[in-house]
């Protein structure tokens, strides 16, 4: 199996603070890999630096065989690397359906000339996209809310929207930054199932930052543990449970019990 994403000796520093301090790991193509670790381990910074929101101090990131660490964010996304955010960031003043329509790349109506003088061609294209978007919304249970402004959605619905929007972008790989944060247990179940379906259905690779180890256990085949900006360990969750370093890193408390159980 080949890697879709390779993180190699990545360093990120903000001022004097080393948020990521020489981290190396890989994500296999077609898998869901979890990225876990205690708070302040640098997980979100890692997602940011893979997606391009945070620039590296040194190191390299290879996505789909291409070195991407010097590409601007939008170029990385054009290559098929799409992220979601820890806090939902929907386009509030646009309808749910529009939220999906806007993210598809390569629409002919994105050029000014086509937009203004060839509206027919662009309209035909949009109609097809509307059908596609509605299918996705239907899968995620948002179909009936498609003409609602995204800002009017509930917290859980916004989570679903965030994910369906990412799916609409047809990514090769999804970077999910705590998609289950602040979500009810029932919805966690649903979201988890969606992620598994996407992975099985289209072979979409995922890197999932998650605190909830039950979720990790259920949907992730591999787990990377980060602590103090470094990769601490890697393996299946079962393997990691017997790894003293990992248990130590969580330093007692609730998580200690959970991972040790």
């Amino acid at each position: 199996m080949s890697n879709i994403l390779a993180i190699s000796d990545v360093h990120v520093a903000f001022g004097g603070l080393k948020a990521i301090d020489g981290c190396t790991f890989e994500v296999e193509k077609g898998t869901i890999t979890a990225l876990i670790g205690p708070n302040g381990a640098g997980k979100s910074t890692m997602v940011g630096s893979i997606a391009g929101a945070v620039s590296l101090t040194s190191g390299s990131i290879t996505f789909d065989g291409q070195e991407i660490s010097h590409l601007p964010t939008y170029r990385r996304a054009q290559g098929g690397l799409i992220r979601t955010y820890q806090i939902s960031r929907e386009f509030g003043g646009m309808t749910v359906l529009e939220n999906l329509l806007v993210v598809r790349l390569g629409q002919s109506g994105e050029s000014l000339i086509n937009a203004v003088f060839r509206p027919k061609k662009s309209k035909t294209e949009t109609n097809a996209l509307v059908g596609e978007a509605n299918e996705i919304l239907n899968t995620f249970g948002l179909y009936r809310l498609r003409n609602e402004y995204a800002s009017n959605l509930s917290g859980g619905q916004k989570r679903l929207l965030e994910l369906s929007r990412a799916v609409m972008a047809k990514p090769k790989m999804l970077l999910l930054d705590e998609p289950m944060a602040g979500v009810t247990p029932a919805l966690i179940e649903i979201l988890g199932q969606h992620l598994l379906d996407l992975n099985k259905g289209s072979g979409m690779s995922m890197l999932l930052v998650e605190h909830n180890l039950e979720v990790v256990d259920k949907i992730c085949s591999r787990v990377v543990v980060m602590a103090t900006g470094k990769r601490l360990a890697e393996g299946t969750l079962a393997e990691l449970r017997s790894n003293r370093d990992v248990v130590e890193a969580y330093l007692g408390g609730e998580v200690h019990e959970r991972i040790g159980s």
Binding site: A51, G52, A53, T73, Y74, R75, R76, A77, Q78, I82, R83, R89, E90, F91, G92, G93, M94, T95, E98, N99, L101, V102, V103, L105, Q107, S108, G109, E110, S111, L112, A115, V116, F117, P119, S122, T126, N127, G131, N134, E135, N138, T139, G141, L142, Y143, R144, N147, S154, G155, G156, Q157, L160, R165, A169, G182, V183, T184, A186, L187, I190
Partner: protein, 341 residues
């Protein structure tokens, strides 16, 4: 009677040109969330550059100075004026649209406006300083000279047609995928970036298109009046356009036009004939500015979406069977479980 007809024509031309300004700002702010705090400078650029392209070389013996003086025919000079304001928009965009907070763009527009205002006033070699340009060649000059009312009504038609074209253009843009990208950037630029769109390019387009449109309004203004001096494009004028857009409804082109009717024509013209207070001749214009400023603030407080809010996008859809409509589980996932935690 003829005075009245002339007055009505002037009101209509004012309405149409302000419609154009507001539509231009709507593309920048209402679509793409770009804060242009010096709208009126683009109007002035359009007007001044039209003037110096259309007028004959400056005659130093009259103590009148300006650059160029190419004496081009008015249609070509119009294009020159419009292009000039587009270029100014492009330059400002180059400085401030790259990866910066919206504060910076607002600062750069305001700074550019202040700078150009001072420059065009103090440097009388550019556009004749504070005196400004006058006797600017108008389209259909002989009609303008001999039958001012006929000229006014010809101009009502011209500016009306131009306005309709701009309005049509703005609508086409709004409902296109490009317009959708602009609005998404207005909502959250980082996310649009993270979905693979070159947001710099899209914002630049909105900036340049908006500036160009305001420039068109500027060319029409000077063609109708035949003169422009810095007193005609103070910061207060920028607020009129902003107030019009916010009152009318940002993101809604009809709203933008309604706003310019309410603010630029009914309010501004309506207060023009309040008699001056002899002891303080500036009282009325000062009060008018205070009201315009308050209008901007109050409309954001009470009705930020404006009189005519942005319209919800509707699409042609094929029927789709709602997978969750029947099952109880799906409904609860939608409505009950997914509530805010």
């Amino acid at each position: 009677m003829s005075i009245f007809l002339g007055y009505v024509a002037t009101i209509l031309v004012t309405l149409f040109t302000y419609n154009i300004f507001t539509l231009g700002l709507n593309i920048q702010f209402g679509y793409a969330g770009i804060l242009n705090f010096t709208v009126i400078t683009f109007m002035a650029m359009g007007a001044y550059f039209y003037a110096v392209f259309v007028m004959p070389p400056a005659n130093a013996s009259n103590q009148v100075f300006y650059i160029l003086g190419l004496h081009w025919p008015w249609p070509l000079a119009s294009i020159a004026g419009i292009v000039a304001s587009g270029i100014l928009g492009y330059l400002i965009g180059l400085i401030a649209l790259k990866r910066l907070r919206s504060d910076y763009l607002a600062i750069v527009t305001l700074a550019t406006g202040t700078l150009l205002y001072g420059l065009s006033g103090d440097q009388n070699k550019l556009f004749d300083g504070w005196a400004g340009l006058f006797s600017v060649n108008q389209p259909f000059q002989s009609v303008a000279n001999n039958h001012p009312n006929t000229f006014s009504w010809i101009f009502v038609v011209i500016s009306g047609v131009v306005m309709l074209i701009v309005w049509w253009f703005a609508n086409q843009l709004y409902s296109s995928p490009l317009g959708r990208s602009m609005r998404a950037i207005r909502e959250d630029q980082d996310v649009v970036d993270a979905f693979g769109k070159n947001t710099f390019k899209v914002r630049m387009m909105a900036m340049v298109i908006g500036s160009t449109i305001v420039g068109i309004g500027g060319v029409l203004t000077i063609q109708y009046i035949g003169a422009l001096s810095p007193a005609g494009w103070t910061t207060g004028e920028t607020f009129v356009v902003w107030a019009a857009l916010l009152v009318g409804g940002r993101g809604n082109n009809i709203g933008a036009m309604l706003g310019s009717l309410l603010v630029a024509v009914i309010f501004n013209e309506g207060t023009r004939y309040i008699p001056q207070v002899a002891s303080s001749p500036n009282l009325v214009p000062d009060l008018r500015n205070i009201i315009i400023g308050s209008l901007v603030i109050l409309s954001i407080w009470f009705r930020p979406q404006g009189v005519l809010p942005e319209r919800k996008a509707k699409f042609f859809e094929l029927p789709l069977k709602d997978k969750y409509a029947q099952t109880f589980g799906g409904v609860s996932a939608n409505q009950e479980l997914a509530t805010e935690v």
